[in-house]
């Protein structure tokens, strides 16, 4: 998608100052997901596993959106999602993983996700997440 097409999809996205946390143990995916978020004007940070995501929230930081990988060392995406919800965190959490069979998807969703996308993440899939989670400002 071109920038003009993105602007048409979400005209006020740049004004909404959304924030996002990328939770993924792969530096490749971190880099790509951050670039996708930057392209949409979404401020973002990155951590490398579920425990770091929980720690970030425990430190008092908050994000509108979390892009949560499923398979990570120390604490995986399912464990981290459950933990964040137990803590009362209401950020929107979108699971992003290569594992897409129905059983795995169901387990991840039941942990507390708001949405689920199969990797690889693209601008279109990210826009779909934002649309579904009502992350745009109506004029």
């Amino acid at each position: 998608m071109t920038r003009d097409q993105i602007a048409e999809e979400l005209p006020n996205l740049a004004e909404s100052k959304l924030t996002a946390l990328v939770v993924d143990d792969s530096f490749v995916n971190q880099t790509i997901h951050q670039k996708l978020l930057n392209r949409l004007g979404i401020e973002n940070d990155v951590v490398t596993n579920g425990k770091e995501a929980v720690d970030v929230y425990c430190s008092g930081r908050n994000y509108d959106l979390i892009l949560m990988d499923m398979d990570m060392p120390i604490m995986n995406g399912i464990q981290a999602t459950k933990r964040l919800r137990e803590m009362g965190i209401e950020s929107k959490i979108a699971g992003v993983t290569t594992r897409a069979n129905e059983g795995e998807k169901k387990e991840f969703m039941e942990a507390g996700l708001n949405d689920f996308q199969e990797k690889p993440l693209t601008i279109s899939k990210l826009l779909s997440i934002l649309h579904k989670l009502n992350f745009y400002v109506q004029t």
């Binding site: 998608m1 143990d25 792969s26 530096f27 490749v28 995916n29 880099t31 790509i32 670039k35 996708l36 930057n38 392209r39 990988d69 398979d71 060392p73 993983t97 290569t98 594992r99 990797k119 690889p120 993440l121 693209t122 601008i123």
Partner: protein, 154 residues
Amino acid sequence: MLGLGVDRLQADINRLLASLFHQGVLDEQFLQLQQLQDETSPNFVYDVINIYFDESEKLLRNLRLLLMDREFSDYKKIGLHLNQLVGSSSSIGARRVRNVCVAFRSASELSNRPGCLRGLEVVEHEYHYLKNMMHELFQLEQQRILAAGVRYPM
């Protein structure tokens, strides 16, 4: 004459990419990476692919060390490494590497050691083929940039 050099190099780049897509080595996700390259990150594709090479080589080394151990039995660890390789390969559009990793992962889920060893060899082969092709692509692109930058003095 210089214009022809740039055009010829661009044609070579296009031909190489078309071949890689035709062989199934790359898929449309690679085009997504190219679309993310912009003035704020003009070397984005090159940078991401090199990160992928670094990450993948560590994972492949770890997989080989695990499987070469006679006492090896930790198939879960194999699975975790492969999940990461599947994920990063699909993220850069490395379709064939991704697919052979998925096949390897199936062998690990069945605790099939000979299957895993075969799987590792296939993944290593596909990975090195991809790496060689990417190096060739980056060399052509570098030559094209240099050719486009050369100007006759006025």
